[in-house]
Amino acid sequence: MIQAEAAPGRFRAAWAALDAPATGRRVPGTLIVAAIALIAGTIAAFWSIGTDMQFAYADAQSHLTIARRIFDSKAPGFTQLGTVWLPLPNLLLMPFVAIDWLWATGWAAALLGIVCLVATASASYRIAARIGLGRTARLVLVGLIVTNPSMLYVHTTALTEPVLIAFLTASVAGLASWALSPRELSAGEMMVFSGAPAAGAVLSRYEGWALVASGTLFVIIVAWRRKRSLKHVVKLASAFALWPALGVLWWVSYNFAVYQNPLEFLNGPYSAAALQAPVSESGFLAYKGSVGLTLWAYHWAIIGTVGAVTLAVAALGLIALCARFRLETRALIVWLLATGWAFSLLSLYLGQTHLNNMHTMPTNWWNNRYALVSLTWLAMLCAVWIDSCLRSRRARRLGIAAAVATIVAFAGQLAWSLTDLPGRSAVLAEGAGYLEIKHGNGTDAGARYLGDHYDGGGILMDESAAGNAVLPQIGVPLHEYFNRSTGPLFDEALRDPAGHARWIFYTVADAPSLSSAAVADQVYATLLENPAVLAQYEVVFSEGDIRILRRLDGS
């Protein structure tokens, strides 16, 4: 009886919390939002893992592998982090991938993704509360984030966007707390609540580096407005930028220490520039150097991931933001969330990023998930629009009607997406495409075969080759592999496969367009050069492009 009476009371309190102003450090309602995100993330994880979509992207499997081989490899150590990707997402995966089952099923990534989704949704909500948005606007904001199929899907994989978005949003939430706090917060708090998450973003993806610039600019403006003291400005800007700067410094030092080139990540053989070079030379980066095509390509990616309705309402929200908050600190906070959007556009324009969709040349799905970094900003603009509608004094009824219509449109967009997830989401479409390829070319079957039949002995495999990033799917401990990450051991094994490996896994799909050193299968190339090796092995699996060999002696 008492419980029956208490439940509505708790619900009322929770409902009230979602509309309560943010005073001090605690923002009422954060836990509720975290719980909602937790539920949404968990449902998405079950769906993704249940449909094998968690392994669709090769990069997702690569991240799981990198995180694991730091401690499970023939050459373990932090140098396994490599230089292709920034290290933090892989480091964060480490405790999860340490458990075999979590690693081999992909739950390791999903768990980290859920944490990131909770962080992103909570931080976004806190920003909205701090800039004074009401309950409906806050709920719309959170709803747009935790019901976005592309967003949810990416958070079930080991792709690095979830970590980036979480740190980016958390850092902006920290800055919002600092900028709007009635009490002057210290430089130390700036370092912990804004600087440290910014450093996390910096070490997750290069979009995070842009946040250092935009965040520092924000701190300079707000600090100057507050005290008009150069000393104060320098102190706080330094406090914000210190950790990210140390992050950058560490990454450059790491590249220098491991590769003797501090800019290895920028111009090395595995860098984005090197991987992009053949595409660029083929003329497929049409938007490079073109403002119009850049905006066109990227915003179609946004429509494909975030949704057309969201983008349209965000445009209205942008107008509302400018009209309502002008250049107030609150407006600057919202603009700060646009950092990822701005960086992505710049990156496309400079040809540093490769992105394809149905409105680019060629027309296929490629890297549209980069648009997800704009989601928090666009959702915040939508929330500003809703809040502005509901606060309209001159045309109250019209405002309410506009808000209701907007919410109905969002609901319609979601319902439309749910009717055909891969058909409505560019990110899911790309994933589904990969899944189809892997089913068709024998990769899935090969991985399953090796996982099921493996009975000991070394495995020679160039897992960096296109299509071979399936080590979690195979599920064999990584210290059994001779692959590129084992350095000289891989070279030795290539020179004498039978002396090292009982199993050989390779792909014969060596498309000429991809035959750069980075993606060509070196094992296959070795076997072509030295076919005598094949005499010592029997072919135990051959389907599509995948071949698996087992040594004949059975030892």
């Binding site: 001090g24 450090r25 605690r26 009490r183 917060l185 210290s186 130390g188 708090e189 912990v192």
Partner: protein, 652 residues
């Protein structure tokens, strides 16, 4: 025979009524308060504001038939014979409550001594006075307790000033930090540095291995001690909780009521609270609110506000705030060293309580703290046996009301939560020497005086006193009560404060290690471990911390740049030591902070490794000062965040 007049048979209440100074209602209220809380009726009437102190003593003069005199005026006119008063110590006169002010020996007729009293003197006491002064009669005059103190202060000034600063050093110089480091202690670090330099020149490898190994060992010993004490403290907490639950269960099963406080107000002793304050006019006004919240009969509180003579601003602030009658302001005469312990020693001479405690002006002790301490002492007195060292001091936990003010205060709060809530209870269970915290240490007044009180030449007189209690065969216990303090919120001020603390630990270690073998014999192995691992180990660990933290970098540079071939045991051991020690400190400190505050504070334990870098800076400053200014007292500013309050603390 001895010249004592007969007393007025009327009671003091009746006299005050007759004089029209109080109403019947006020009298009845005061009598009710007296019945409930004990103490003298007069004090209840004064505390309730029914009468002024002067009026009360005039009424008492009428009752005692001893004329009222303005003792201070008499002293100023030279009518008080200082020689008579200087025959005894100031403490003695304060305790007796009366003063001989003149002896007359006329050629003809009886001789007499004039005694100014603040208490009703019985005939037997008067007879003793007559006998003591070798006169025929005693003539009583009445004065107020405040005037008596002022005159004692005035006449015993030189002795009081000397006693406050030099008593310990003059009675037992080996226990005082006055002389600083002795010869071998001063020489040791110089020799160590010289050996390292020479070693680095002739055999860098062996030198590097030795230095790194010693640094790691020092760090490990200190952290190990803190962690083990924390583990013991955790066991104690769990055990006590289980015990309390079982007792509660048994009471329920047997239908017994829950016990109420075992000591009725009437039986509570007078409690002296020393509040040293210097240049704290900004927060001194909070004192009354903070101490007024104590659940202890005000008639039995003896609050001594210790102000320095040159601190006009604070003195003016105190006068302006018109403190209640149980608060006395004592002006400490100028003199060196002008330190908090010197002021406390001065105040101790005027303490009337059976127990004495120090609080800072901004301190907010939990209301039940004094009662809990009295109960702890009383239960120890009941249980005391010859095998256990007597309990001389009880330390309450110190925590911070401004814990989440900024990052520094959070880290400070995490550190204190571990120290006071986890480590000290463990040390209490071990019965090893406990270095006292800056405030909220409760003493048996007489025993504190016998120990020589605080060493004004030691900049952490509290830690030193904790060790001296052990040396003298006593024991320090802890009580489960908190005093909320203000954490230093600014890094430069924090570094100065911590420099003083670490320097004090160095000095305390040096003082106690002057005769290490004798110390070991006297205090046994557990005490010796505390001295080495905690008192000496803490500064050494902080000095060594950069080497430990930077171990990986140092060894990497050493191996790759200088070409040192460090042995695996050192590289692996050092790395594990750095990681494991820091992880353990984070875990234990975080758990303690979570219990005391919440996870929002506790999570900052993760920054402990960085926080210790600040400690290291302070430790190296302290090491420098040990040589060049060992007695320098860098005062910590208070009141910077006085208005701020952690939301988690309010609920406690």
């Amino acid at each position: 025979m001895i010249g004592m007049p007969g007393r007025d048979r009327r009671r003091i209440g009746e006299i005050l009524l007759d004089r029209g100074l109080i109403t019947q209602t006020q009298l009845e209220e005061a009598l009710a308060a007296q019945r409930e809380g004990g103490g003298q009726l007069g004090r209840h009437l004064i505390l309730s504001g029914a009468v002024q102190r002067m009026e009360m003593y005039r009424a008492l003069a009428e009752q005692w038939r001893a004329p009222f005199v303005d003792l201070v005026q008499l002293d100023e006119r030279g009518e008080v014979d200082a020689e008579l008063i200087l025959t005894e110590t100031a403490e003695t006169w304060i305790e007796r409550g009366w003063l001989p002010i003149a002896v007359e020996r006329p050629a003809h007729g009886p001789s007499w001594v004039t005694v100014a009293t603040t208490i009703p003197l019985e005939r037997a006491a008067a007879a003793k006075i007559v006998e003591g002064f070798g006169v025929d009669q005693v003539r009583l005059v009445t004065t107020t307790d405040w005037d008596l103190v002022r005159v004692v202060q005035s006449i015993c000034r030189a002795a009081l000033v000397f006693g406050a600063a030099e008593a310990l050093a003059s009675s037992d110089n080996s226990a005082s930090a006055k002389d600083g480091l002795n010869l071998w202690q001063r020489a040791l670090p110089v020799i160590a540095v010289a050996v390292i330099v020479v070693g680095a020149v002739f055999d860098p490898l062996v030198t590097a291995i030795t230095v790194l190994a010693i640094a790691n060992a020092m760090f490990l010993v200190n952290v190990g001690f803190k962690v083990l004490a924390g583990v013991r403290g955790s066991f104690r907490r769990v055990w006590r909780r289980s015990l309390a639950a079982e007792v509660h269960r048994q009471r329920e099963v047997r239908g017994l009521p829950e016990p109420v406080s075992s000591i009725p107000d009437d039986d509570l002793p007078i409690y002296t609270i020393l509040v040293p304050a210097y240049r704290e006019a900004n927060i001194i006004t909070k004192l009354v609110t903070n101490l007024g919240a104590l659940d202890y009969p005000k008639t039995k509180l003896d609050v001594l506000l210790l102000l320095e003579e040159d601190d006009d601003e604070t003195i003016a602030a105190v006068k302006a705030m018109r403190p209640p009658e149980y608060v006395r302001m004592l002006i400490v005469p100028p003199g060196g060293p002008q330190t908090k312990p010197r002021a406390c020693n001065y105040g101790l001479a005027f303490a009337r309580g059976e127990f004495v405690v120090i609080y800072d002006a901004e301190d907010r002790p939990q209301p039940q703290q004094l009662r809990q301490v009295v109960e702890r002492f009383r239960s120890e007195q009941r249980l005391e046996n010859n095998e256990q060292r007597p309990l001389i001091c009880v330390q309450a936990a110190l925590n911070y009301f401004n814990a989440d003010y900024n990052v520094l205060t959070r880290l400070f709060a995490v550190e204190y939560a571990h120290w006071f809530d986890s480590m000290l209870p463990g040390m209490d269970d071990w019965h090893v020497p406990i270095p006292l915290g800056g405030t909220s240490n409760h003493f048996v007044t007489d025993q504190l005086r016998n120990l020589g009180a605080w060493d004004p030449y030691n900049v952490t007189e509290d830690a030193d006193l904790g060790m001296r209690i052990a040396v003298q065969g006593g024991r320090v216990g802890v009580v489960d009560s908190v005093t909320w303090e203000e954490a230093c919120a600014e890094v430069p001020a924090w570094v100065k404060q911590r420099t003083r603390w670490i320097k004090g630990y160095m000095m305390t270690g040096a003082v106690n290690a002057r005769h290490p073998v004798a110390w070991l014999k006297q205090n046994g192995l557990p005490g010796f471990i505390t001295l080495t691992a905690l008192i000496i180990g803490t500064p050494l660990a902080f000095l060594a911390y950069p080497l430990v933290l930077g171990f990986t970098i140092i060894t990497y540079v050493g191996v790759h740049v200088i070409g040192l071939n460090l042995p695996d045991w050192l590289v692996i051991g050092g790395t594990i030591n750095m990681l494991a020690s820091n992880a353990l400190m984070i875990m234990f400190a975080g758990a303690a902070a979570w219990r005391r505050y919440n996870w929002r504070i506790a999570v900052f334990a993760l920054l402990n490794p960085l926080y210790w870098i600040l400690h290291s800076v302070a430790a190296w400053r302290a090491a420098w000062q040990m040589y060049f200014s060992p007695h320098r007292w860098e005062k910590t500013p208070h009141g910077l965040t006085e208005e701020y309050e952690d939301s988690s603390v309010v609920a406690v």
